[in-house]
């Protein structure tokens, strides 16, 4: 009989205990994976949102701009520098940007906003604002009109739940509102009638036109075609004022940005802020965004910069967000640590009981000629089998949830959603697909098992046969 066969049979001599121990490992692994997937998925989404809706992966800035982000720390972007940076193998575009704060007013409401001036034709390489134009939105009027229509009960309920939300594509609207394939032919015309928005993008020749965030449009009660008054301070303290007609409304994933987003052409921004030829930064779009490649690209580009200019990566530009996420990550790790500590005691309890119950048997096995190292190997295998059962079951059970949570992120509504938005987060919790964090859970469980195995092996090697046979 092979060692592993004996170990496997031993495992089932006390089925209940084996199952309880394996179940404790299973629950720890399952909850740790699901929790971690939510946590890491949320972080990744936040990072992606900030990168894609605002900072980009790399920016060319004045050295002082990171500490004092104002027009006075702007610069003139020379074509020669832009061309040299653009020639880097990982760089796909250099997009100049002029941004500053201002007050925006429409009707009787005013809001502090972030005015971003960029070239609309090149912008798509970074922030991709064109694809964020809203196609459907559930205004109070649209919600009321749709509920009065003959919608399927589930869709009607969800229309009420999602009132106030906006969608940039039909697919996510259908998914969120639970519209089935059979119903879509009848239901979608109703949405097109009541909830669609005639939304247009600007081009570089669109002087005096603006795109604004959906959050800002709701606050100002400003719609497409309305005029936005922008007032602020321009370059070197001159006053900045202008009128812009809203041409489109976009949904930016980060609520802080969505609530204050005004996008105009670069030429309009230079005119508004009286900063001809200037930029506050240039977003550098790259093809390989992997951390290592990103840093290497940054290093290469920094060697090309002079005159007080520097290349900053998204982590440097969003240090506050990263610190917040790191603190949250630590608290999550502590929670998981406590979870595993409880499990470790459970596993250790099983080992103690098993060692005590089988002491005489161990004594008999050694007395009839089984070497202690062989016995220790069999007992170690038993522990390993229990751990593997728990880990494999935990991983298997978590996978469908993780894949589902990735495909259909958890979306909060009502008070919880508002709370999230107040903290500057989109009320969505996506999950992260299996990655190295899956491997880490297995490593942690194996470490716990290793401690338990070490303990049992030590006890076996210290076994006194005479005392064990009397047990």
């Amino acid at each position: 009989m092979k060692n592993h066969q004996l170990a496997w049979r031993n495992l089932w001599r006390n089925k209940r205990r084996t199952l309880i121990t394996a179940a404790s490992v299973f629950f720890a692994v399952f909850f740790a994976l699901v929790m971690r997937s939510f946590q890491l998925g949320t972080y990744e989404k936040m990072y992606r949102d900030v990168i894609e809706s605002y900072s980009g992966y790399l920016q060319l800035q004045h050295t002082d701009y990171i500490d004092e982000s104002n027009l006075d720390n702007g610069f003139v972007l020379e074509h020669s520098l832009s061309d040299i940076i653009g020639a880097d193998p990982n760089v796909t575009g250099v997009i100049p940007k002029l941004e500053s704060f201002a007050l925006a007013a429409a009707g009787s409401r005013t809001q502090g906003v972030m005015v971003i001036g960029m070239d609309p034709d090149n912008e798509q390489k970074t922030l991709n604002i064109k694809n964020r134009l809203i196609k459907y939105r559930l205004t109070p009027e649209a919600t009321e009109a749709l509920i009065e229509e003959n919608l399927p009960a589930r869709t009607a309920k969800l229309v009420d739940v999602f009132s106030g939300e906006a969608w940039t594509d039909e697919k996510s609207l259908i998914s969120d509102l639970g519209i089935s394939d059979e119903d879509s032919a009848a239901v979608m015309p109703l949405f097109r009638k009541h909830a669609s928005l005639d939304n247009r993008y600007i081009n570089s020749a669109d002087s005096g036109r603006a795109i604004i965030g959906y959050g800002l449009s709701r606050y100002l009660s400003a719609d497409v075609g309305d005029t936005l008054v922008i007032m602020g301070q321009g370059y070197h303290g001159v006053s900045a004022a202008g009128l812009f007609v809203i041409k489109g409304i976009v949904s930016m994933p980060n609520p802080d940005i969505d609530n204050a987003f005004v996008y105009i052409t670069l030429d309009d921004a230079r005119w508004l802020y009286a900063a001809p030829g200037m930029v506050t930064s240039a977003i550098i779009s790259i093809s390989d965004t992997d951390d290592k490649e990103l840093l290497q690209t940054q290093q290469r580009l920094n060697e090309l910069c002079n005159n007080g200019l520097v290349i900053r990566n998204w982590k440097e530009m969003n240090a506050l967000l990263l610190n917040q996420m790191e603190a949250d990550n630590k608290s999550g790790a502590i929670m998981i640590g406590i979870l595993y500590l409880v499990i470790a005691f459970g596993v250790f309890g099983t080992v103690l009981m098993m060692m005590a119950e089988r002491r005489r048997e161990f004594g008999m096995l050694v007395s009839i000629g089984m070497q202690k190292r062989k016995l220790a190997g069999i007992v170690g295998m038993e522990m390993l089998f229990i751990g593997l059962l728990g880990v494999l079951a935990g991983v298997a059970a978590s996978l469908p949830i993780v894949f589902y949570g990735y495909a259909r992120p958890l979306r909060f509504t009502g008070e919880l959603a508002r709370m999230y938005e107040e903290y500057g987060f989109e009320p969505v919790m996506p999950m992260l697909l299996p990655d190295t964090y899956y491997l880490w859970q297995a490593v942690i469980v194996l470490l716990i098992l290793l401690i338990a195995i070490t303990f049992s092996v030590r006890r076996i090697f210290k076994l006194n046969i005479i005392n064990a046979l009397r047990a």
């Binding site: 009989m1 004996l6 001599r13 096995l365 007395s367 000629g369 070497q371 046969i465 046979l469």
Partner: protein, 231 residues
């Protein structure tokens, strides 16, 4: 031919500042084919002497030579191999491996010794037949009676053809019929395989069958008698 030689052996335990001489200067030897019992009151040192002969314990003084091996010269791991090769153990409470069937239990030591499968199977079948359990070869210990379990334990001890069998109170947990059956089998194996059996016992049924009775008192041999019992 001498299988076991015990020369002036002492075993002293120190329990809570009291010195207990469990074996106190024993000199004995056992020949091949002996069917010997060690008797004596509780605490006389029977089990301790058996443990010393089996290499489960080391004497405080004196020398034990088994099949040419001086046990005191063997390292712990060598002692384990020595037991596997030369000693068969039969315990009072059977001590079978609960997750193995009767035939797997019998073949267990042979598998530790890496016997070829065919040879192992043949020997297992032969021994199960000898102990009258051929039909229960696939039963787990929990499915066997006490007497049947002890017969499997005897078959296991005999399987690798050791130099001798040490049996510590083998009939203590058995009813009369089971004990008689077991002793019949042991006598038969002793006769047919010329296997040496050394028992420690209180059981009169065992003493009646023995051809040599060694009496211990306070760790000393007080008598060593050959009897006329013919097997």
């Amino acid at each position: 031919m001498k299988v076991v030689e015990i020369n002036d052996v002492f075993k002293t335990y120190h329990d809570t500042a009291v010195e207990v001489k469990a074996v106190n200067g024993v000199t004995l030897s056992f020949d091949k084919g002996d069917f010997a019992v060690i008797v004596g009151p509780s605490g006389s040192g029977k089990t301790t002497l058996l443990n010393l002969i089996g290499g489960l314990d080391q004497p405080t003084a004196g020398e034990i030579i088994v099949a040419g091996h001086r046990l005191s010269e063997l390292k712990p791991s060598e002692l384990i191999d020595f037991r596997m090769e030369h000693v068969g153990f039969v315990f009072q409470s059977y001590n079978l491996i609960p997750v193995l069937t009767a035939s797997e239990n019998v073949g267990f030591i042979m598998s530790l010794q890496k016997w070829p499968k065919e040879k192992r199977m043949a020997r297992t079948g032969e021994l199960l037949e000898a102990v009258g359990l051929s039909e229960r070869h696939n039963s787990r210990p929990s499915q066997l009676s006490g007497g049947q379990q002890q017969r499997v334990a005897v078959a296991r001890a005999l399987a690798p053809r050791p130099q001798f069998i040490l049996a510590d109170e083998p009939t203590a947990n058995l009813d009369t019929k089971s004990a008689e059956t077991l002793l019949d089998i042991m006598e038969k194996l002793n006769r047919e395989e010329e296997m040496t059996f050394i028992f420690s016992t209180h059981d009169v049924r065992v003493m009646k069958r023995a051809r040599r009775v060694i009496t211990l008192e306070d760790g000393k041999v007080v008598s060593d008698e050959r009897t006329n019992h013919n097997s």
